[in-house]
């Protein structure tokens, strides 16, 4: 399950992820992270069965946690099935089926957004 964890760094530099791993023993996979001087946003992947535990622990440490069900969206009217996105995606979300139709394995998406400007037809977007 993908969790979007956001936290403020104004109150100090609490190592939210590290403490959560240490105290819960759940192995968290960091898919992408953006941290600047005032705030951080980290997208993590955790086993479904441990997500409640991880969520409550992170919230205890002051983070905001949102379960992420979204992935990149494709406008099927705009998409022409060229495949320009396929080699751009670091997570192999896009592939062709037997009919050379573009298919998405949405659960792999980490919403990095790299595919959005790479689509010549503006068919891809992130909803957040």
């Amino acid at each position: 399950m993908k969790l979007l964890v956001t936290f403020s760094r104004k109150g100090g530099r609490e190592p939210v992820i590290a403490r959560t791993v240490k105290e819960t023993g759940v192995l968290i996979n960091v898919e992408r992270a953006h941290i600047d001087s005032v705030a951080g946003e980290v997208l993590v992947d955790v086993p479904d069965s441990d997500s409640d535990l991880v969520c409550s622990k992170m919230r205890e440490f002051g983070a905001t946690v949102r379960i992420l069900v979204d992935s990149v969206r494709r406008d099927e009217d705009e998409c022409v099935d060229c495949g320009a996105c396929i080699s751009i995606c670091p997570k192999d979300v896009f592939s062709f089926d037997d009919e050379w139709r573009l298919t998405l394995t949405e659960e792999r998406c980490v919403l990095c957004g790299k595919c959005v400007p790479a689509c010549p037809h503006h068919a891809l977007s992130l909803m957040q």
């Binding site: 022409v80 099935d81 060229c82 396929i86 080699s87 751009i88 062709f96 050379w100 400007p117 010549p120």
Partner: protein, 510 residues
């Protein structure tokens, strides 16, 4: 293996008679190789009358002629805009040619000529603006109105070069940033390969000798019947890169086969669906239409090198490109197509439908294209300035083990802001600027030696690099000087933003 006796040729009249009678055997170029395998070449000639091809990809060199009709009072349109995209109006009073890559003057690369073409075909209303200085016969000076495709006397698509036989595949081996090109995003360190073209379905790949594709041949263009005009601009059949100039009337076209696109950081282009029905008149046509993706090769080119003659990393077949990954230097690299194979199939299938239903008859070329044509580079008569001509040759440098204080002194003495850092062999290993030194003074904990504070990722140039390329490096990296190094990495000079000023004040000014 086969006892039947077949004719070795089939006339175009016989093929057209069968089309009219509704019993022509039409297959797509994708189906043809297996048919030839099964029936043999003579069997395939006997069995198949028409092979349809198709491609759907970005074809920048596209556009359309319009005749708008005369207004009252009349105007001689000197300049014309369609939804703020300027069209070329130097063709009589109320005519213009709109190129697909022309950008909107208000929306930038989000909207361009290609979008106007798509909007017209979609039936949308377009704002037409025109300007004139006024003449005795055409007194009006400005005009603004709204038009749709139906309002135009003519809207004739005329594409100077479409349907290249094949395209070079692109990768980025030499630049350390993501490059935005007409071949899409190219990730650094050969992070991906981008290619274009329909391979087995590509019209010209099915007739590389240009025997049955030539002037006057009917085609499928964006969903409407069209025609080959002749040799496309920049066509180079002698090197395997033939292309076609084509035309078709826009009424009848559909947005299923005509789509505007934007390549981020590059600009606007038009995705064109184009198919050519190939009459199977003899064994040579059977052989050329039996081509497979495995047989069609192209080169993987390093777009990271900013010159016309970019290095070829390896040759590759369309079968490998379409497999999803290719090997470069022992590593698997993912591939992306810029053109749509599914759409190419749709073009070939729609065209096959037209021929089966008797909607399109076939013709041999009224004039053959020259297979010996080869594209030449531009003849340049103006001198292209090189870095060596404007760089500073005697520049202060510093060793990586020197103290920061020494670096500061050297900068002051040399009245410069950039100090290349050299190793014991005189190779550039870093650069130190006055900014780095100021930073070191403010936070003294960062170290005492030059090596502790220098920037190690140095953007460099070479003496023979064109000044334009070096200037672009400065701009893209937001820096103001580049060390100039020879082939061995030894420093031979420095090019700073100030040196660029020499180009304007000195001998290159006009």
């Amino acid at each position: 293996m086969n006892d039947k006796k077949y004719f070795m040729q089939k006339s175009i009249d016989l093929i057209n008679t069968r089309i009219r009678d509704g019993n022509a055997r039409v297959v797509t170029a994708e189906e043809m190789p297996a048919i030839v395998d099964e029936l043999g070449e003579e069997g395939a000639l006997h069995e198949v009358d028409v092979v349809t091809t198709g491609t759907f990809g970005a074809m920048c060199s596209s556009g359309a002629f319009f005749n708008f009709g005369h207004s009252d009072p009349p105007i001689r349109m000197e300049r014309v805009w369609l939804n703020d995209v300027e069209a070329y109006a130097g063709v009589a009073a109320v005519d213009a040619y709109l190129g697909a890559t022309q950008l909107s003057e208000t929306k930038g690369d989000r909207y361009g000529g290609a979008h106007v073409l798509e909007d017209l075909v979609a039936g949308k209303t377009i704002e037409l603006r025109a300007f004139s200085k006024g003449t005795d016969c055409y007194p009006r000076t400005t005009l603004k109105t709204e038009i749709t495709l139906d309002d135009l006397n003519q809207a004739v698509m005329c594409n100077p070069r479409n349907a290249f036989q094949r395209y070079g595949a692109a990768t980025n081996a030499s630049s350390d940033r993501v490059m935005n090109t007409y071949m899409g995003s190219l990730l650094p360190n050969c992070g991906n390969v981008s290619f274009s073209g329909a391979g087995v379905l590509s019209p010209l790949a099915n007739d590389p000798q240009l025997r049955v594709i030539g002037s006057g041949v009917p085609i499928f263009l964006c969903g409407a019947p069209g025609m080959v005009i002749g040799e496309g601009t920049q066509s180079s059949p002698a090197s395997g890169f033939a292309n076609l100039m084509v035309t078709g009337n826009m009424p009848g076209m559909t947005t299923d086969f005509l789509r505007a696109a934007t390549f981020t950081g590059y600009g606007v282009s038009l995705y064109v669906g184009l198919g050519i029905p190939i009459p199977v008149v003899d064994l040579d046509v059977v052989r050329s239409t039996a081509v497979r993706d495995e047989d069609i090769t192209t080169s993987i080119i390093d777009y990271g090198v900013p010159s016309r003659d970019r290095p070829v990393l390896r040759d590759v077949s369309y079968a490998e490109l379409r497999s999803g990954s290719v090997e470069i230097g022992g590593e698997e690299v993912k591939t992306s197509s810029m053109s749509s194979f599914r759409k190419a199939r749709e073009v070939a299938a729609a065209l096959a439908g037209w021929v089966r239903e008797g909607k399109m008859e076939l013709f041999l070329p009224t004039r053959h294209l020259d297979t010996a044509t080869r594209v030449h580079p531009l003849r340049e008569t103006e001198h292209v300035p090189r870095v060596r001509e404007i760089m500073q040759r005697s520049i202060p440098c510093i060793g990586e083990d020197e103290e920061i204080r020494t670096a500061a002194r050297t900068l002051l003495k040399g009245e410069t802001n950039h100090l290349p850092v050299l190793d014991a062999d005189g190779r550039v290993v870093g650069i130190v600027t006055t900014y780095d030194i100021s930073k070191a003074v403010v936070s003294p904990g960062s170290g005492k030696r030059v090596a502790d504070i220098m920037t190690r990722r140095v953007i460099r140039t070479t003496p023979e690099e064109a000044v334009d390329i070096a200037a672009r490096k400065l701009e893209l990296n937001n820096i103001s000087a580049l060390p100039v190094v020879d082939d061995n990495g030894h420093i031979i000079g420095l090019l700073s933003a100030i040196d660029l000023g020499k180009l304007f004040g000195g001998r290159w000014s006009r």
